[in-house]
C-alpha cells in the first residue's frame, strides 16, 4: 500500500506534453517519491470540505470529480485518466469544494503538496507546466458548461465520448481500439446532466446511426469522423498540440 513507485516517469511524460522540460528538470522530477496505493472502485480520493495537503497522481485506472445539489443529485464535472495529477487544483485553496472519486479500481501515487510547491519554486519550467495543466482543466470545464447548457442529449453524450477518446489518444491509445468504458451509463448521465435512462437511448441512437459499435461489454468507435461531427466536437479546447 505504501511502496515507493515509479510515478515520476508518468509525470515526466505528462509534463513533457505541456512544456519543453530541461534535462535538469527531468532529473529533479525523477527524485520525486510517490507513495503508491491501490484503491477500489468508488473510493474517495478527496472529499468536499477536506483540507488538502497531499496530492494524488493517477497511475492506473480512472476517476471523476463530482458535486452534489441539495436534493442529492450528482453532477460529474470532470473525469481523469492515467497520468493526470488530481489535486494541484486544490493545493493552493483552503478546502476542497468537491469530491474526487475513482470510477474503476485504481492505483494512485501520493506526494506532499509542499514538496511539489518547492519543485515549482526551484524549477520555473515545472511551475509553468503545472500552471498550463490547471488552465487546460479550466478550459475543459468551460466546454462542459457549454456542452451541458446548450447541446441536445445525443450531441452531449457524443461529445463526452469524443473527449474521452481524444484524451486517451493523447496518452497513446488509438481511437480505433475497442474499449471498455470506465463509466456506467448513470455516470455518463451525471456528466452530461441527463438520466441514465436517456443516456441509454442516446447510445442506442448513436449505435444505429453507425457512429460506434457495441460487442458484449466493450465499445468501439465505428466511425470517428462521424462521431466527431455528430458531437459538434472541436478538440481545440483540449490544447493538446504544444
Amino acid at each position: 500500500m505504501t511502496t515507493v513507485c515509479a510515478g515520476s516517469t508518468l509525470l515526466v511524460r505528462k509534463l513533457s506534453r505541456l512544456v519543453a522540460l530541461g534535462t535538469d528538470d527531468i532529473a529533479a522530477l525523477s527524485e520525486l517519491e510517490f507513495q503508491s496505493e491501490q484503491v477500489a472502485n468508488h473510493h474517495y480520493l478527496v472529499r468536499e470540505g477536506d483540507r488538502v495537503n497531499r496530492c494524488c497522481l493517477l497511475i492506473d485506472g480512472y476517476a471523476a470529480r463530482n458535486k452534489l445539489v441539495r436534493n442529492g443529485q450528482r453532477q460529474i464535472v470532470a473525469f481523469h485518466m492515467p497520468g493526470d495529477m488530481l489535486d494541484l487544483q486544490h493545493s493552493l485553496l483552503n478546502r476542497a469544494d468537491h469530491n474526487v472519486q475513482t470510477t474503476t479500481a485504481a492505483t494512485v501515487g501520493w506526494v506532499d503538496v509542499e514538496k511539489l510547491k518547492g519543485f515549482a519554486l526551484a524549477h520555473p519550467k515545472i511551475a509553468e507546466a503545472f500552471a498550463r495543466d490547471a488552465l487546460i482543466d479550466a478550459s475543459i470545464f468551460r466546454e462542459w458548461v457549454l456542452n451541458v447548457g446548450r447541446r441536445d442529449a445525443k450531441t452531449r453524450v457524443a461529445h463526452m465520448l469524443c473527449e474521452f477518446v481524444a484524451r486517451r489518444e493523447a496518452i497513446g491509445i488509438s481511437p480505433a481500439d475497442p474499449m471498455v468504458l470506465p463509466f456506467t451509463q448513470e455516470q455518463i448521465g451525471d456528466a452530461t446532466g441527463l438520466t441514465s435512462v436517456h443516456v441509454n437511448r442516446m447510445l442506442r441512437v448513436l449505435t444505429t446511426e453507425g457512429a460506434f459499435e457495441r460487442l458484449n461489454g466493450a465499445y468501439k468507435i465505428a466511425d470517428w469522423q462521424k462521431l466527431k461531427r455528430l458531437a459538434d466536437f472541436d478538440p481545440a479546447y483540449l490544447h493538446q498540440a504544444a
Copy 2:
C-alpha cells in the same frame, strides 16, 4: 484611449484578497503601467482563436466569457466585474478558446503578458495570487457545470443572481443596495442554459415569492436569506475568505 492609469491600485486590492502581499510586492505592483481604454457595450476584448499577448484588467463595467455551438447558440461560461484580470487564463495557452465580451460600456487597462510573467517570476507571492485566482475561476466553472446540469430553471437563475451579489459584496457593494443588472435577460439565459422567455418567467416567480423586487429598471434583493435558500447557494466555491 491610451492614457496610463491607476489600474495598479485596483490590482493590489484584488490580489490582497488572495494572498498576504509584502510591502515590496505592493511597491513593485505600483510600478505597473496599464494602458487604459474605454470600450462600448458588446465590445470583444478577446476572440476565440486569437493569440493573446496582452492582458486585460477590468477597471470599470462588466464583461462575460462566451462560447458558441455549431448552430450559433451562445453559452456564457463566466461573468466578470471591476477588478478582475481577464486573460491570465489565456496567457500560457496558445490560442483563446472562447470570446470575452463586455456587457456594458467599460474601462479596461492593458498590460503586456511578458511583463506580468516577469513579475510572477520575481515575486513568488504575486505568482501565488495569480495561481489562486485561476484556481478560483476553475472552481466557479465547476459550480456552473453543476448549476446548468442539475438545477431547475428557477434555482439556476436564482443561483446566478446570488453569485453576482456575493461577488459584488467582495468588492464592497452591499447585497441590500438596489442594482441595475449589467445583463439582459437573454444574457442571463445564455449563462444558465435557458431561453430569455423562460428567464423572464422565473424572474417573475422569484419576485412574487418575495425574494427580490423590481422598481422600473433597477432590481433589489428583497430577502437575501430567502434568495440564497431558493438558489441552493453555498458561497464556499467562491473561496472568498482567506
